[in-house]
């Protein structure tokens, strides 16, 4: 499964911050940790803040911290902030043909399995079981 860069950065940021929810990390610190662009990560963090998953704090000790419920927040909740919803994307050439429809059913099957997996793993479960 190919995730957009913003989605991967969103997952990295949430999981890193949720590891120690009392700690704040700046966009620059997170960017260094994952070796990614601080500018790109700052945009991702604003999206996560708008979704009430992280909170930004100003000042000398400012930065971001995780504020959601780790047992109630699933990987899909994060992915859905950055990836287009299934069915929301523009139609592509050939989709209306019989071959396009048959292929579409296979792709829907794959999407459903991927979504089920992402919805079944909470931030808490991944941090406890997956690291």
């Amino acid at each position: 499964m190919k995730l957009q860069t913003a989605t991967r950065l969103g997952l990295y940021a949430v999981l890193e911050l949720a590891r120690t929810p009392d700690r704040t990390l700046s966009a620059a610190e997170l960017a260094t940790r994952f070796d990614v662009s601080a500018h790109h990560l700052a945009k991702v963090l604003r999206t996560l803040a708008d979704a009430k998953m992280v909170a930004g704090e100003r000042g000398a000790t400012g930065g971001y911290r995780f504020i959601a419920n780790p047992r109630r927040t699933t990987l899909m909740d994060i992915v859905a902030l950055f990836e287009p919803a299934p069915g929301a994307r523009a139609p592509e050439p050939g989709e209306a043909t019989d071959i396009g429809r048959a292929l579409g059913r296979i792709l829907v099957e794959i999407d459903e399995i991927a979504e089920a997996t992402l919805r079944s793993v909470s931030v808490d479960t991944l941090l406890k079981r997956g690291l």
Binding site: T74, E112, I113, A116, T117, R119, S120, S122, T125, R129
Partner: protein, 149 residues
């Protein structure tokens, strides 16, 4: 939520009303004959078949789990299969399901198996999340399906 005081024991035929009642509340359909058959086959059966209930300190049903060690079906070596696990919704997130899961795993371990398996509706995200939280991941098989009617 604080963890309720639980007593785990093997299911008995007298548990039928409580088990089928909890299932009916959770699924919206009464299947008393099915649960009666399950209790007849699994309650007090051989050790590879297990049907366990969790009771609250007041003696009411908190949840149940049923499963069996199966070998070589679909070419798979012996594994413990979980057929059903249900918890009173009022007691969810209190450790009842985890206690039942661990108790069943322990009994299967005693039968010499080292894998636990189950099947889950892929749109039932809450039960999927429960099994994930117990450490389960996608297994080696894919379930396939087609209409024949």
């Amino acid at each position: 939520m604080s963890k309720p005081l639980l007593h785990l024991r093997a299911a008995e035929p007298a548990d039928l009303a409580a088990i089928s009642g909890l299932d009916a509340r959770l699924t919206g359909s009464a299947k008393t004959a099915y649960w009666q058959g399950m209790l007849e086959r699994y309650a007090g059966g051989p050790p590879e078949r297990q049907f366990l209930v969790a009771e609250t300190a007041q003696g009411t049903l908190a949840g149940f789990v049923a499963g069996e060690v199966r070998a070589w079906e679909f070419g798979q070596p012996p594994a413990g299969w979980i057929f059903a696990i249900e918890v009173d919704p009022k007691l969810r997130l209190g450790g009842v399901g985890s206690a039942l899961f661990e108790a069943l795993a322990e009994r299967f371990r005693a039968q010499g198996v080292d894998r636990l398996r189950t099947l889950v509706d892929r749109k039932d995200h809450s039960i999927l999340a429960f099994f994930r939280a117990q450490g389960m991941t996608a297994g080696p098989s894919l379930q396939l399906d087609r209409a024949i009617g």
